[in-house]
Each structure stands twice: as structure tokens, then as C-alpha cells.
């Protein structure tokens, strides 16, 4: 047997092994997409991967059952706003904590990191009273402000700080020699060099906001204001039982942005997982 043949057999075996390992991860997704095209009766009938009758109208009904397009847009703009704000604030705060010498910097970092140890569920009631006193119930403000300035924002700040700590100081010195101010160094040197960390924070933040359920449940009451996770739990019949085919069709639509983000930024996502290991 030649070396090339051994190589081919080796690769084939590996591919088969990986395919087998991938089944538990891929199968539920395929089942979800397939069930989105089925009737409720077929979902609970004889199991089959492909629908016997393709019900494309499920995907239309999703939009007529409740203001799904509006809810989709809500989730999208809230996730983008949270991501952009978190990137700005975490990179500024992370840079300051990593690079600026000021009294109590260490204590401040400790104080911030300690916030990560408080479960979000514990703070939801005080947050509710705070938001209510500000008159922001049934608005999107709490869904933007809480992730940005709450524990997730702290985690993003910590991640950025760790990355900035590793940037060579001589680059900042070179920036100062070139005439950059502190903010100029942040903008023109530190940020462009931190693309992997920024990508990690962006992806993690977007997914965090996209999947947020508890806060919308507490703070929102109008259908028009709902975000996707809340909307998905709202495809029920008059008895309050889930309309599985609509729910799964809607879920299929809901994962599309995540799939698109993943396809565009596969490399950054891989790096982001490597980077997010820093926080452990």
C-alpha cells in the first residue's frame, strides 16, 4: 500500500468518525427545519426527517399570527445597538483599566469583576423597580441598557482589558512620538490591533442580546414591542398549547441571522472561543 493510499484511508476514517460525532448536533437542527414545513399532525405522527407534505404556508402564517416582522426587527436593532454600545464602552473601559495608571484601578477592577458573581436573576427585581421608576417599562431601553452596563458589559470589559494588557507598550510610545493623544492611541493603534478581541466581544454580545429571554419577559408587555425569544413562546392555540409547526418555522427564521453571522465570520468565531477562554 502506498503512502498516498494510507493517507486517503486515514482521512476517510477521520471524516466518517467526525460525521458520526456531528449527528447529535446536526440532527435537532435538521429536525427543527423539517418540522417547520410540516403540519402539527405530521409532527406527532410517524417520525420522518423530510415532510410528506411541504407546508410552506407555515412561514407565511408566522407573520400573520402576530407582528413577527416587527418583533424580528426589534430583536435585530436591539442586538445591534447593544453590540455597538458594548464594543464602545468595553473597549474604552478595558483600555483605561489596562493602560492608565490611576488610584484605585485594581480595586475598581475587583469591584467590577465581583459583579460577575451575582446571578442576573437576583438583580432582576431591583432592576425592575429601577426601570419602572424611570418610566421605561414596555420600552426597549432596559433591553439595551442592562446588557450593556450589566454583568455582560463587565465581562466584555474584562475580556478587552485582558487583550489590551498584552499589547506592547512600545507601540503606544511610538504613537505618542507620532503625536497621538491618549484617545488617539486607543482609536488608531489599540482598536485596530484588537480586531480579534472586538470580534469576540461583538459575536458573544450579539448572541447574548439575540437570545435574551428573562428581561423581555419582565419588561415588555405589548406584542409590538416583543423580541424574538418572547415571540417564539407566543405561538400558542386558544388553549395555550404550543403550535409546534409555527413555533419551529419561526425558530428556523430566528436562527438565520446567527447562521449568516457564523458563515461570514467563521474564523473570528473560532478565535473568539479561544479568546473567551481568557475569562475562565
Amino acid at each position: 500500500m502506498t503512502r498516498r493510499q494510507i493517507d486517503i484511508i486515514y482521512r476517510t476514517c477521520w471524516t466518517l468518525a467526525l460525521l458520526i460525532v456531528a449527528i447529535p448536533f446536526v440532527f435537532p437542527f435538521l429536525w427543527m427545519v423539517s418540522a417547520g414545513f410540516k403540519s402539527t399532525t405530521e409532527i406527532f405522527g410517524t417520525p420522518s426527517l423530510l415532510p410528506r407534505v411541504w407546508r410552506y404556508e407555515n412561514f407565511i402564517e408566522v407573520f400573520t399570527y402576530q407582528p413577527f416582522a416587527r418583533q424580528y426587527f426589534n430583536s435585530l436593532y436591539i442586538a445591534i445597538a447593544v453590540t455597538v454600545l458594548t464594543l464602545i464602552i468595553s473597549s474604552l473601559a478595558g483600555y483605561a483599566l489596562a493602560r492608565m495608571r490611576f488610584a484605585g484601578a485594581g480595586l475598581l477592577m475587583l469591584f467590577l469583576v465581583s459583579a460577575l458573581m451575582v446571578p442576573e436573576e437576583v438583580t432582576i427585581i431591583p432592576n425592575f423597580f429601577l426601570i419602572r421608576s424611570l418610566g421605561l417599562i414596555d420600552t426597549h431601553w432596559p433591553l439595551i441598557l442592562l446588557p450593556t452596563f450589566g454583568p455582560h458589559g463587565v465581562m466584555a470589559t474584562f475580556l478587552m482589558r485582558q487583550y489590551f494588557l498584552a499589547l506592547p507598550r512600545e507601540l503606544e510610545d511610538a504613537g505618542r512620538m507620532d503625536g497621538l493623544s491618549r484617545i488617539g492611541i486607543w482609536w488608531r493603534i489599540a482598536l485596530p490591533m484588537s480586531r480579534p478581541a472586538l470580534a469576540a466581544v461583538a459575536i458573544i454580545t450579539f448572541l447574548f442580546s439575540w437570545n435574551l429571554f428573562l428581561e423581555p419577559l419582565i419588561f415588555l408587555s405589548s406584542l409590538e414591542m416583543f423580541t424574538l425569544p418572547l415571540a417564539l413562546s407566543n405561538f400558542n392555540d386558544s388553549y395555550g398549547l404550543p403550535l409546534w409547526n409555527l413555533q419551529l418555522a419561526a425558530t428556523t427564521l430566528a436562527v438565520l441571522p446567527i447562521l449568516i453571522v457564523y458563515l461570514i465570520a467563521q474564523r473570528q468565531i473560532t478565535e473568539s472561543f479561544a479568546l473567551s477562554g481568557v475569562k475562565g
Binding site: P168, E170, D173, M177, D178, G179, L180, M193
Partner: protein, 342 residues
């Protein structure tokens, strides 16, 4: 071009004083080298001149202007860093032109100056490459180019060659010397390598523990060191230091200064002769053949070790008793405090 004048410059980090009162003048167009062991404060001093570190006390003047409180970018100095400090996200052209862009120099003018500097440093073909695509020597040339395009009055080099291999270091050293000859700009260069200091400098500043030990030309420092530290720091291999009484044996005609307690003689100034009562007796313990010269380690009757550099290929074998002599002009005497006495 500008001169650099330091008057009683001091630097404190908390309670620790790193620079303990330095007075120094680097004349216009001069190539000054700060040299000294690790932790002596040479890089801190350079950073104070550049504006990257504040001056705790004292006066710093560049081109006659007080610079203590002037921002780094407005001092008219260009700096080359040890690790090159090239921006990894910018190509060579943008790295070199970055400072001009920050200062809002028009694009045409910026391009012209980058092209000129690139031509001077033979970087024309590399302008579109990124730092990661360059060799160590090329990166160092880009770092120098970045300093050149700003047309500074003073160039500051912070151990620029220490990350290069030995061969490239020699090459870059000659390029920096050639650059100084061409630009005639004031240059201040920090190194711990005394060969770099000796070959490049018009003026060497030897520092130890935040103080200047001696300032002078390479020849002054080699031939007339002020103290034991400078005598042993300048010159490679380092100067042998023996009890003053041995001077009579090394050079019988020399009159011993009254306050001398030790005598220094450089390895290259010792001559191997037949052992007689008029020479310093020694036993060969090791020969190191390096090609051009041989380093001979010898042991004196008192147990001290001593090094001899000789250009002969056939040195006495290990265990041979030999005599050592030297010309009286090549002996250096030091008092109990290590200061040179004549």
C-alpha cells in the same frame, strides 16, 4: 540639527531615584552613546529626552529651548525603539507616514518624504509590505525610516540592534554610522554593547546607578578611564585588575603612584615573555583560539586569574610557566576608592 543639554536631571519613581543628577551636553550633529549595565538608567534618560518620561527635576534643553513640559511629538525628536514598534496593521508606507498623517501634512508632501526616506534606506520595494512580511533588519530600517520622515532635530535610538543576530547587527551598525555621516543630525544612542558604543560614538556617556561615571571620546575612555568601573566596562575582554605591587613586575621602569592600591592592564597590552625576576610570573590554565587572536587564561602566584590576548597562533601549552610584561604607558593605577591616579 540641535544640541541637547541636561542640567542636574533627576528621575524618581515613588521613593526610588533612578536618575540621580545628570549633567550632559550633546553638541549639534554629534553622535552620543549612553552605555552602561542593565538598570543603570540609560533608557530612562533617553525616554526623558524623548518626552516619554517626565523629568522629576532639573533642566532639559533641546536646540536652546526648555523642553521639560513639552509633549514628546513637539520636541523635534525621532525615536527608534528596541522592538521596532512598527504598527502591525499598517504597511511600510503607512507606518513611515503615520506621524506626518497625524500632523496633517498634505498627502503629496507625505508621499514625497516617505519615498525619499525609503530611497535612503533602500526600502523602495517594500513599501506595500506589512511588518510581519519583513525580516528583522528590514523592520529595523523601517523603524529608522519612520524617524527620518519626521525630519527630527535629534534622533534617539533605544538599543535598536539588540534583537538582531550578530551578523546583521554589524551590518546595521555600519548603516547607522553611514546614516549619521549623511544626515549630520544629532543622534543619541543607548546600548549595553560597548563595541557598538566604541564604533559609533563621537562621545560616550558611561552610566552606573543613575549617575554619569565618565563622558568622553571612545579613545579617551579606553586610554584614560576615570575609574575602575569605566576601565573594566570599556574594552573587550575586560581590563585585568591586580594589586598595585604587581606593577613593578609588569613594567619594572614604572614609578608607582603613592595612593595606588591596584593596577589595571588590558589583556591585549600584556606580552608573554620568558619568566624572569623582571616579569610577572604566571601559569597558563586555558587557551581559547578564536582565529584572529588567542585568549590565554593564566593564574598568578597569589591565586588571581588574568587574561592575555595574543595574536600568535601557538601559545604556551596549559601548565607552562610564563612571564608577563607591559609598557608603562599601558598601566592604569587606581586608589582605594577605585578612582584613577596618575
Amino acid at each position: 540639527m540641535a544640541d541637547v543639554v541636561l542640567k542636574d536631571i533627576r528621575k524618581q519613581f515613588g521613593a526610588t531615584e533612578i536618575i540621580r543628577g545628570v549633567d550632559l551636553t550633546v553638541d549639534e550633529g554629534e553622535f552620543a552613546v549612553f552605555v552602561g549595565p542593565s538598570g543603570c538608567g540609560k533608557s530612562t534618560l533617553l525616554r526623558m529626552i524623548s518626552g516619554l518620561e517626565d523629568v522629576s527635576s532639573g533642566e532639559l534643553h533641546i536646540g536652546g529651548r526648555r523642553m521639560n513640559d513639552v509633549q514628546a511629538a513637539k520636541r523635534g525628536v525621532g525615536m527608534v525603539f528596541q522592538s521596532y514598534a512598527l504598527y502591525p496593521h499598517l504597511n511600510v508606507r503607512d507606518n513611515m507616514g503615520f506621524g506626518l498623517k497625524v500632523r496633517k501634512v498634505p498627502v503629496d508632501e507625505r508621499d514625497r518624504r516617505v519615498r525619499e526616506a525609503a530611497a535612503t534606506l533602500k526600502l523602495d520595494a517594500l513599501l506595500d509590505r506589512y511588518p510581519r512580511q519583513l525580516s528583522g533588519g528590514q523592520r529595523q530600517r523601517v523603524a529608522i525610516g519612520r524617524a527620518i520622515v519626521g525630519s527630527p532635530d535629534v534622533f534617539l535610538f533605544d538599543e535598536p540592534l539588540s534583537n538582531l543576530d550578530a551578523e546583521l547587527r554589524v551590518h546595521m551598525r555600519s548603516e547607522i554610522a553611514a546614516l549619521h555621516n549623511r544626515l549630520k543630525t544629532t543622534m543619541i544612542y543607548v546600548t549595553h554593547d560597548q563595541i557598538e558604543a566604541m564604533t559609533l560614538a563621537d562621545k560616550i556617556v558611561v552610566l552606573r546607578d543613575g549617575l554619569v561615571e565618565q563622558i568622553g571620546s571612545p579613545r579617551d575612555l579606553y586610554e584614560k578611564p576615570n575609574n575602575v568601573f569605566v576601565a573594566q566596562f570599556i574594552g573587550s575582554p575586560r581590563m585585568n585588575l591586580l594589586p598595585a605591587a604587581e606593577a613593578k613586575l609588569i613594567s619594572p621602569t614604572h614609578a608607582l603612584p603613592a595612593s595606588a592600591v591596584s593596577v589595571g592592564v588590558r589583556p591585549e597590552h600584556l606580552r608573554v615573555v620568558e619568566p624572569t625576576t623582571d616579569s610577572l610570573s604566571a601559569t597558563v590554565t586555558l587557551n581559547e583560539y578564536t582565529g584572529a587572536v588567542t585568549l590565554m587564561h593564566v593564574e598568578l602566584p597569589g591565586g588571581q586569574t588574568c587574561l592575555v590576548v595574543d595574536d600568535k597562533r601557538d601559545m604556551p601549552p596549559i601548565g607552562t610557566r610564563i612571564g608577563l610584561t607591559a609598557d608603562k604607558d599601558n598601566l592604569h593605577f587606581f586608589d582605594a576608592d577605585g578612582r584613577a591616579v596618575s
